[in-house]
């Protein structure tokens, strides 16, 4: 039996190495095949000039429409500031137990908080956010374990505090969910 496929779709410019490393981490965490492709979409229609941010709900729907039928899960990676109408910003969002999620690295840069540039830290944070949103598409809720990647993070400090792995409790739920999908 072949492994299910997770597709990462990047929107905007990203270093190739960065995307490959993220793909590798996702593959290890979910034991899936991981493809990567460029999303060639003009994002201006998702821009809200009043908020100077991009509408996360519309982008999530757009990525969902773009997802290939062969792809088990699809995650859009952005480098723009995301919002949803009710919140001032989001790092990402996903359809719980669905096929699609989105994550943005825009608010994960050290420089935005007056700290020195740190590419390694940026990669670690991005990896955590991508795995976190994909976790939701596998039906995982937010976890109380402070080091689990599924811990809810509303600030950068929260992201740094947790690890990039799914805790055993969440992994048990994940395995049940994957078994259900396989059946």
């Amino acid at each position: 039996m072949s492994l299910p496929i997770i597709t990462l779709v990047s929107f905007g410019f990203f270093e190739q190495d960065f995307l490959e490393e993220i793909s590798g981490a996702v593959k290890l965490e979910f034991n899936c095949l991981v493809n990567h492709r460029d999303g060639r979409v003009d994002l201006s229609e998702f821009y809200d000039p009043a908020r100077r941010q991009y509408n996360g709900n519309s982008l999530l729907k757009m990525v969902d429409n773009l997802s290939h039928p062969d792809s088990f899960k699809t995650l859009g990676i952005f480098n723009v500031d995301l919002y949803i109408p009710i919140l001032t910003f989001i790092f990402g969002q996903a359809f719980l137990n669905g096929r699609t999620g989105i994550a943005s690295i825009y608010r994960l840069y050290n420089e935005r908080y007056g700290m020195p540039k740190d590419d390694r830290l940026l990669f670690e944070r991005s990896k955590k956010e991508v795995i976190h949103e994909l976790g939701h598409t596998f039906g995982l809720f937010h976890c109380d374990n402070p080091i689990c990647v599924m811990r809810s993070s509303t600030y950068l400090e929260d992201v740094d505090l947790k690890k990039s792995h799914i805790c055993q409790k969440c992994r048990n739920s994940l395995e049940i969910s994957q078994n259900v999908v396989a059946i």
């Binding site: 009710i86 919140l87 001032t88 809810s152 509303t154």
Partner: protein, 446 residues
């Protein structure tokens, strides 16, 4: 979370509903949405929601009007009002109408997380509080009154029905039968259970002390009255007052008490302001009040005022079936309080306990078990651990009256038929002793 918290989102904007729905779903909450206040109110009729997040500006019924209606039907509901246009006036209005909090759109994700976490904490505290209240009521009501015998089943049925009324109650029974426990059970099953249960041991206080204790006093009313002090009747407002050993109060206090019971008003000692208090009276005595009325030592009008309902607690010797259960209960109680593993009881020791007369009733049995656990090896209570060798064991061929007759005669002979000294030794008054002498037709030996 032991119980899944349910959230209802009410907003006319689809994007807001969807955003909040997705946000809360990821946190594991049970979430439903409604696009109008009317729809939300319909949903609330059939579903329970712990938290309701409602927009203030909606077509038709607005958030504030919806808040008022929700609070009328479900006052405990936690409603959080959201709006894009925050003004102090509307915020204050929402909070005055019972909103839990008020937030301005768009929220900081962290604020939203904290808001919901705090509301969740309040819900769990309230539910914990409810379960503790129920536990306390259960403890006072059933678990402490132990018995499977028919007299005890009848007693519990009586307590249950009496508790629902507001009538005065007299609890009668021998010393040590648990009269205060029954009084507490009546209170904790009554609609007054969330208000004070105030207990007064009338027999332990002199007339003037009892007066000050019951009615309170003003500063300077007597030597030592340094401060104003509330009386027990005042403290029992909305609750119940338990007057133990009611037969011991003086004639003057009987008059005072009757007046208070009739008017539910009184004046503090040394005061002139009339104070009213809404309390229920539960009295207890081990004396025969009816006989006291006949003998003129207890006011008839007060007796009828108090004796609306009479509950009699049978002595332990009349409910032998409860002894094994009580023994087991006291063993567990004292082993736990002394940090010992639960002990067992030897069948011969239990047999001896079943044969005993128990003039001191349950209190006496309790003391015996406590002593046995203290002096015993801590594993098994044996005959040796029981103090019965020095006491009179019940002879099943004799009735209680025979026992009483023989005992009184023995004490009378001991004091050479001196009535005052004999009455003192028996801890009864002279009138009661004369009554007993007449009843048993007791006469000096020659």
């Amino acid at each position: 979370m032991s119980k899944k918290i349910s959230i209802l989102i009410v907003d006319d904007e689809e994007s807001v509903r969807d955003s909040l729905y997705n946000w809360f779903i990821e946190d594991g909450y049970h979430v439903m949405t409604a696009e109008q206040a009317k729809m939300a109110l319909t949903l609330l009729e059939s579903e329970h929601f712990d938290i309701i997040l409602a927009d203030i500006k909606m077509p038709g019924m607005d958030g504030l009007e919806m808040l008022r209606r929700i609070k009328t039907i479900k006052p405990e509901a936690i409603v959080i009002i959201m709006t894009a246009f925050a003004t102090v006036d509307t915020a204050v209005k929402a909070l005055k109408d019972g909103a839990y909090d008020y937030v301005t759109k768009p929220f900081d994700p962290d604020d939203l997380t904290h808001l919901i976490r705090n509301a969740t904490k309040q819900i769990s505290l309230e539910s914990e509080n409810d379960s503790l209240k129920k536990k306390v009521i259960t403890l006072e009501n059933v678990e402490d009154i132990i018995g499977i015998s028919e007299p005890m089943k009848d007693l519990l049925r009586e307590v249950e029905s009496v508790a629902q009324t507001n009538s005065s109650v007299i609890i009668t029974g021998e010393s040590g039968t648990g009269k205060e426990l029954v009084a507490r059970a009546i209170h904790s099953n009554s609609p007054r259970r969330f208000f004070p249960f105030v207990s007064v041991h009338c027999g332990a206080l002199t007339e003037s002390l009892l007066e000050s204790e019951l009615f309170g006093h003003e500063k300077g009313a007597f030597t030592g009255a340094m401060y104003n002090r509330k009386g027990r009747f005042e403290m029992a407002d909305s609750g119940s007052i338990f007057l133990d050993e009611i037969a011991t109060i003086s004639s003057k206090m009987q008059v005072e008490l009757l007046r208070v019971l009739e008017s539910k008003t009184f004046v503090r000692v040394g005061g002139n302001k009339e104070i009213s208090s809404d309390f229920r009276v539960i009295c207890a005595t081990n004396k025969d009040l009816k006989t006291m009325v006949e003998q003129g030592t207890f006011r008839e009008d007060l007796y009828y005022r108090l004796n609306v309902v009479n509950i009699h607690i049978p002595p332990l010797r009349d409910r032998l079936a409860d002894i094994p259960l009580l023994v087991d209960y006291f063993i567990k109680k004292y082993c736990m309080s002394m940090n010992k593993p639960p002990a067992s009881i030897d069948p011969t020791a239990l047999k001896r306990l079943l044969e005993f007369n128990y003039p001191g009733n349950i209190r006496e049995l309790e003391n015996m078990i406590e002593r046995a656990i203290v002096v015993g090896d801590g594993k098994r209570i044996t005959l040796r651990d029981l103090p019965m060798e020095k006491t009179i064991v019940n002879n099943s061929t004799e009735s209680l009256d025979d026992f009483e007759k023989a005992f009184i005669l023995q004490i009378l002979q001991k004091y050479s038929w001196n009535i005052s000294r004999t009455a003192k030794a028996l801890k009864v008054d002279r009138v009661t002793l004369y009554h007993k002498i007449k009843k048993y037709d007791l006469k000096p030996a020659n």
